[in-house]
Structure formats: structure tokens, C-alpha cells
């Protein structure tokens, strides 16, 4: 197992394409920081007015609102960067893990060695899970890092328009700690996505197909999660996207830990099911290519 893991890590991180995702995420973080810096003055004015409005009196609202911590939070809550952009990257990497090797013939070369298929799948899963978490943390870290350079430090302040326009101010260190935790939890979501993609990768012959199915599943899950139909509402508690969204509440002043714990269990369940599926399918797969 250890040998398979070392081989997979070596292959994965020596491939230039592995770093393409990191470069794209760096670009995304840079873009968000650029937009935040350009909009900082207006945003601060609006935010302060909103805080004053919500307090209903003549309050002095002083200090920076557009800070470095704002960037990773904005990325997380904008949903698309994580639910689509990051998820697609993770799905592409994990989706190609077996399928691309199958179609290129390298899987055949590997399996001619005395190595258990289960170990190959586990090693690929570990590598892709590490990659998924790395990408997620990298997205948050670059957002924060570039944010520090161009926006500077300070508390995390946001106006919660979804919940009646209240405001939240989280001291800088607490914000970074909570953001790290939120990103780690989304890293778990990305592991679940990687697991599903790996499972698909074991079942199909092309990496792009596996990634496409995974992203399609995620989008479908995301759409069903927000559709206001009673028949669909029944399945919403079981959807991956429903539980991914629960992780955002880690940043709340008083998070609902029971809800977050439940989400962790569900997302872990998705990850475990994906991995188990991958092991079973790979064990039975015939290497024709």
C-alpha cells in the first residue's frame, strides 16, 4: 500500500497539469481581491450605512470593513467558486485518475506489477483527497494572502442580507480560525466530490466523462436543493449540496454545531460511498485497453 501511495503521489505531483488548478485558483483569488479593492470605498460606505440602519441610531462605525478576511469569506459564500470552479477541478483530477490511465494503457502497465487493485484505488483516493483539500485550502489561503497585501488585515465584517440584513463582526484571529475551519470542512466536501469522481473514473473509459458526470451530479443536486417543490423538498436533506451549504455556518457568531456535525457525517458518507464504489468497480473491471 505504501509503495502504491508513494508511486501515486510521485506521479501526481510531477505532472505539470496538477499545478494548473493552483494557478487558476490563484487567478481567481487575485480577481476577487482586485474587485474588492476597487469596490472597497463603496462597499464600506454601504456596509456602515447598513450597520447604522440596523442599529437604528447615531452610532459611530469606525474601522476597516474591507479586509483580507473578507476575501476568503466572499469566495466561500459566492458558492460558484467552490461549488462549480473548485469542484470541477477536483472532479477533473479525480475523474482522470483511473479512466485516463485506463485509456492510455498505463493502468495496464501498473496492474502487471504485483499490486492489489484495492491499493491502487486507495492510493489514488488518498492522492486526490489530499489534492482536493490542498486546492480548497489554497483557494482560501491565497484569497487571504493576496487580501493582506492589497487590503490589509482587520476584523471580518459582513452584512448578512440573507438573514434580515444583520451584521457580523468577527475579530481577525477568530475570523481566520473560523475561515480555516470552514475551508477544511469544504475540503471534506471536495473529498466527497473526488470520491464520486474516482468511482465514475473506475466505471468509464474517459476522464472527461467521469468528471462530467460528477459535475453534472453536483449541479443537479444543487438545483434540486433550491427548488421549492414539496416533492423535491423531501429529498433535499439527503443531497450533498445541502450539507455542503451547512459548512458555511461555521462562520456564524453562534454556529449550529449539531447541524454542522450532521453535515460532516453526511458528506463523509458520500465520500465513503464513492470510495467503496471505486474499490468494488475497480476490483471487477476488466483491463481491455
Amino acid at each position: 500500500m505504501w509503495a502504491a501511495l508513494r508511486v501515486e503521489f510521485s506521479k501526481f505531483y510531477r505532472h505539470r497539469a496538477t499545478y494548473a488548478g493552483f494557478v487558476l485558483l490563484l487567478g481567481l483569488s487575485g480577481l476577487v481581491v482586485y474587485a474588492a479593492a476597487k469596490d472597497a470605498r463603496n462597499h464600506e460606505r454601504r456596509a456602515k450605512a447598513e450597520i447604522q440602519r440596523s442599529l437604528g441610531g447615531d452610532f459611530i462605525v469606525s474601522g476597516k470593513i474591507m479586509t483580507a478576511a473578507f476575501v476568503p469569506r466572499a469566495i466561500l459564500f459566492a458558492k460558484l467558486p467552490v461549488y462549480v470552479f473548485l469542484a470541477a477541478m477536483v472532479a477533473m483530477a479525480a475523474g482522470g485518475a483511473v479512466a485516463t490511465e485506463y485509456s492510455s494503457g498505463t493502468l495496464r502497465t501498473l496492474l502487471c506489477r504485483p499490486v492489489r487493485r484495492t491499493y491502487v484505488v486507495l492510493a489514488k483516493w488518498l492522492v486526490n483527497s489530499t489534492h482536493a483539500v490542498s486546492l480548497t485550502l489554497f483557494l482560501g489561503a491565497t484569497g487571504l494572502g493576496i487580501g493582506y497585501i492589497f487590503l490589509g488585515g482587520g476584523d471580518l465584517v459582513w452584512i448578512d442580507m440573507q438573514r434580515g440584513g444583520g451584521f457580523q463582526i468577527v475579530p481577525e484571529l477568530e475570523a481566520i480560525r473560523n475561515l480555516t475551519f470552514a475551508y477544511l470542512l469544504q475540503g471534506l466536501s471536495m473529498i466527497a466530490i473526488a470520491s464520486i469522481a474516482l468511482c465514475m473514473s473506475c466505471a468509464v473509459g474517459r476522464g472527461a466523462t467521469a468528471a462530467g458526470i460528477t459535475v453534472g451530479f453536483l449541479l443537479l443536486s444543487g438545483m434540486v436543493a433550491v427548488m421549492p417543490f414539496e416533492s423535491l423538498e423531501k429529498i433535499q436533506p439527503y443531497l450533498l449540496t445541502t450539507h455542503m451549504a451547512a459548512f458555511e455556518h461555521v462562520l456564524d457568531k453562534a454556529p449550529d454545531w449539531a447541524e454542522i456535525r450532521k453535515a460532516v457525517l453526511w458528506v463523509s458518507g458520500y465520500a465513503a460511498t464513492g470510495l467503496l464504489g471505486a474499490i468494488v468497480i475497480m476490483g471487477r473491471r476488466e483491463i481491455k485497453c
Binding site: L55, G63, G154, I169
Partner: protein, 226 residues
């Protein structure tokens, strides 16, 4: 036998009694309750010598969304009502806490000042004034309690409509043996949500390290945060 003695006016005792009465009347006049305007004027005169100040501030609050404790920041004040805060962290404090409700301005705007109550606590009279714009009814009134011993403003209650909007309590400390300055300000906002979900948030502002009348520049108050 009747003798023709010269007629004398009131006796010495009567004069003494009259003098005593007069003195008592004068003294009574001197110790009569001051008018509302006088009370407010004396309170405002107390801080008239403070042209500006700088102080280090700490805030503990239960405002929903705000941190429990804000790291120490600096507040700058300049008469009549300029306040500037320099803080790395976001600070939300009622302006009235530092401007004493901007009472001078309220008076200038032809406010009606009514003495609505007097009580004595530990031998010190406490005057409660109601200040409201003359042209308006009871909407937007302010109730101010003034310590009749030091003439410091002890409490202010901002009422809008039928509801108390904000209550401010000041504790004072003597700075440089000369200026009575706020040391602890307790702000209660009954309508502002608390962090625990209820209503009625509270903030305690502690001021230390006063530097009074250092000649703060107006430029300091032009940036945001004032």
C-alpha cells in the same frame, strides 16, 4: 402712677426675630431649587474648559454581530461634537456617549428644557431634565440626569415615540485634578438585538489615559470614523 415715658418701637427681641426671619428668607431664597436651564448650564459649563481630549478606549458589548470585546482603540474628541476613532478593529459606539447627547446643540436649536424631577442620593441632589424641541410634541425627547454636587451628567435616556431608544450612564473621574471626564460609559439599546438572540444589547466603554487640551487638529476629524 402713670408716667409719661417716651414711646419705644418694637422691642430688641422683635427686631432680632425679624432679622432672623429676614436672614432665613434670604437663605431660603439662596437654597431654592435651580431652574432647569440653570442646572443644564452648570453641567455644560463644567466641561466648557475641555476643548479636546484623547483617550484609550476598551469596549465590551453584547450587540448581535459585534465581537464581545474590541481591542483597545483611541478616541479623539473636539468641541463641540467632533469625534474620531482610530481602530484597527471595527468599532460601533453611540456618538452620544462622547458628545453627551450634543446637548449644547440641542439648546441652541431652541429646545424646551423642563425639570421633571429632583431626588437626593447620599445627600447629593440629582436633577432630571427633559429636553425636547419646542416645536415638537413628546417625540424625540431626551431625559438627562445631572449630579447636583459635581454638576456632571450622570445619565441620558433618548426616547423616540413611546420607546426608550438608548440609555447612557456615565461614571466620571477627575483628570489632572481639574477635569471631570467619563471613565465608564454604559450604553443600553433596548431595541438592538443581543448576540444571544434576545433584544436589549449593552456596551460598556472604558476610557483611560486621558490627554486633555492638546490642541487636536480639525484634520484629524475629517477622515471616516467620526
Amino acid at each position: 402712677m402713670l408716667t409719661n415715658t417716651p414711646r419705644r418701637g418694637p422691642g430688641r427681641a422683635a427686631w432680632c426675630a425679624l432679622a432672623a426671619l429676614g436672614a432665613a428668607c434670604l437663605a431660603g431664597a439662596a437654597w431654592a431649587a435651580p431652574t432647569a436651564n440653570e442646572v443644564l448650564r452648570r453641567a455644560l459649563d463644567l466641561s466648557a474648559e475641555v476643548n479636546d481630549y484623547t483617550a484609550q478606549v476598551q469596549v465590551r458589548s453584547s450587540f448581535a454581530g459585534a465581537p464581545d470585546e474590541i481591542p483597545t482603540f483611541t478616541v479623539y474628541f473636539k468641541r463641540p461634537d467632533k469625534v474620531s476613532i482610530k481602530s484597527k478593529s471595527l468599532v460601533i459606539v453611540p456618538r452620544d456617549a462622547f458628545t453627551f447627547g450634543n446637548l449644547s446643540k440641542r439648546i441652541e436649536e431652541d429646545a424646551e428644557i423642563i425639570l421633571v424631577g429632583t431626588k437626593t442620593v447620599n445627600g447629593v441632589p440629582l436633577y432630571t431634565l427633559k429636553i425636547k424641541p419646542k416645536e415638537q410634541d413628546e417625540q424625540g425627547r431626551v431625559l438627562v440626569t445631572i449630579d447636583g454636587g459635581r454638576w456632571t451628567i450622570q445619565r441620558m435616556e433618548v426616547v423616540e415615540g413611546q420607546q426608550t431608544h438608548l440609555t447612557l450612564d456615565w461614571q466620571h473621574t477627575l483628570v489632572g485634578g481639574r477635569y471631570w471626564m467619563p471613565s465608564i460609559i454604559t450604553c443600553r439599546a433596548p431595541n438592538v438585538p443581543r448576540a444571544d438572540g434576545g433584544k436589549g444589547a449593552e456596551a460598556t466603554i472604558t476610557l483611560t489615559g486621558y490627554r486633555v487640551n492638546t490642541g487636536l487638529s480639525d484634520a484629524l476629524f475629517q477622515s471616516s470614523g467620526g
